[in-house]
């Protein structure tokens, strides 16, 4: 049931993203979308030495592509990863919702924070916050999938399940799952924030017109007074 809900939610988001963009925008954005997706896939294969995690660069994709194309990019990356066995094919929908939340949140946080602080710091903070929220969302989803969806719509308290003979299946200890996942996630968050902020800093020096948000707000690092 939750898998179906995940796919339905993803389908609705993708339909909305496609409708929001005009036909000519889609055609012109397609190569950029595709190479950013390929870049994200490659970044995941970058070796980080002894660390048991990998880069995602989802927030970077959100900053470069915008929220709607970023959602499409997160779906494409999840689908390709599922096809090679990294991540389940049945949870592509739910994964896309979680990763899509990183993209959208990262974009909006970067846009808001870059008005107040330097874009490099804004990128680091936006990435860290977006990933924290998506980790919490992922743990919450794992907890929710242990519960029958119909029970969530029931008016009774959970204490009445035994009277009604409805059992709440609790196969997973959410606390134990969180204890295992959180340390690894925190390492990944620190890494991702660092690399994303370094990449944004590099792009601002070399090709600042790619970062539309920071350019629009007129807060490009070291470029006040330079024209495009």
């Amino acid at each position: 049931m939750w898998l179906v809900l995940g796919f339905t939610g993803t389908a609705a988001l993708l339909a909305l993203a496609t409708l929001r963009m005009r036909r000519e925008e889609i055609t012109s954005s397609l190569p950029r979308l595709s190479v950013i997706c390929a870049f994200m896939l490659l970044a995941m294969s970058v070796p980080l030495g002894f660390l048991p995690t990998h880069l995602n660069l989802t927030v970077l994709a959100g900053i470069l592509l915008g929220p709607w194309l970023g959602i499409i990019a997160s779906f494409i990356v999840n689908l390709i990863l599922a096809l090679v066995g990294h991540g389940g094919i049945t949870v592509v929908g739910l994964n896309t919702l979680v990763v899509g939340s990183e993209v959208v949140l990262g974009y909006n946080l970067f846009k808001a924070l870059s008005r107040r602080v330097r874009p490099v710091l804004a990128a680091a903070l936006a990435t860290a916050l977006a990933l924290l929220v998506s980790t919490a969302l992922m743990i919450g989803l794992v907890g929710l999938t242990q519960i029958e969806p119909s029970l969530l719509l029931h008016d009774h308290d959970f204490g009445h399940e035994e009277e009604h003979g409805i059992g709440v299946p609790q196969e997973i200890s959410l606390a134990r799952f969180a204890q295992i996942v959180l340390p690894i996630s925190l390492v990944g968050i620190i890494l991702e924030s660092t690399v994303t902020s370094l990449l944004i800093g590099y792009l601002l020096k070399v090709k600042p017109d790619l970062i539309d948000i920071a350019k629009d707000e007129g807060q490009m690092e070291g470029e006040k007074g330079l024209t495009r």
């Binding site: 979308l33 499409i72 997973i172 134990r176």
Partner: protein, 203 residues
């Protein structure tokens, strides 16, 4: 096959299905020594999920891990024996043309950028810019290399757009036509998968 994995709760059925899939992979000539490591990821991620269980009985832990490895093996069989354009063309039956075109161009771009990334990493290692234990140095150099790769990839995307525009690209053009329709040769794998699903559901 994936449906059978999702539905079944019996370890015996899963082990037999996994053996069947590994046998098919060997028959197809897929070198498991080169591709087998791809099964490590679902096993590792499945074990995190499995060890979070309250009941913690050993067979449930093994069940969860074997489920994830079996589902991944089914997809590995698909991706190792079928060309990616054919897979994406079949997805045209489900997804809108934009998604399928983006999948195909992503697939192509991945290999182009992989060559670039390999060259960049070789240059990094030759110039002592990468060490397994020096994390800060690695992060800085990897970020610079990725930044360079990103600029290069965006230039490739701009060139790709001009090439597509010059050739009159329209949404859905890449997989138009009927060559992606299922044929009689697809019956064998379909029937085998249906039999596996029936077997795990009925027995």
């Amino acid at each position: 096959m994936v449906s059978a994995v999702v539905v079944t709760q019996k370890l015996f059925h899963l082990v037999l299905t996994l053996s069947f899939l590994l046998g098919l992979l060997l028959m197809a000539g897929v070198p498991l020594t080169k591709f087998g490591h791809l099964l490590f990821f679902p096993a590792f991620l499945g074990s995190i999920f499995a060890f979070s269980g309250i009941s913690g009985s050993w067979w449930q832990v093994v069940l969860v891990i074997i489920k994830s490895v079996t589902a991944a093996s089914a997809l590995l069989l698909l991706i190792a024996t079928t060309g990616a354009p054919a897979i994406f063309a079949c997805l045209r039956l489900i997804f809108p043309p934009l998604i399928v075109d983006a999948l195909f161009i992503t697939y192509r771009s991945f290999f182009i950028l992989l060559d670039e990334l390999t060259s960049l990493f070789t240059a990094l290692k030759v110039k002592a810019g990468y060490s397994p234990v020096r994390l800060i140095l690695n992060l800085r150099n990897i970020a610079n290399a990725l930044g360079l790769l990103l600029i290069r990839s965006l230039e490739i995307s701009e060139r790709m757009y001009k090439v597509l525009a010059l050739r009159g690209y329209q949404e859905g053009l890449l997989f138009s036509g009927s060559w992606y329709q299922p044929t009689k040769y697809d019956l064998g794998p379909l029937l085998a998968s249906a039999l596996v699903l029936l077997w795990v559901v009925v027995l």
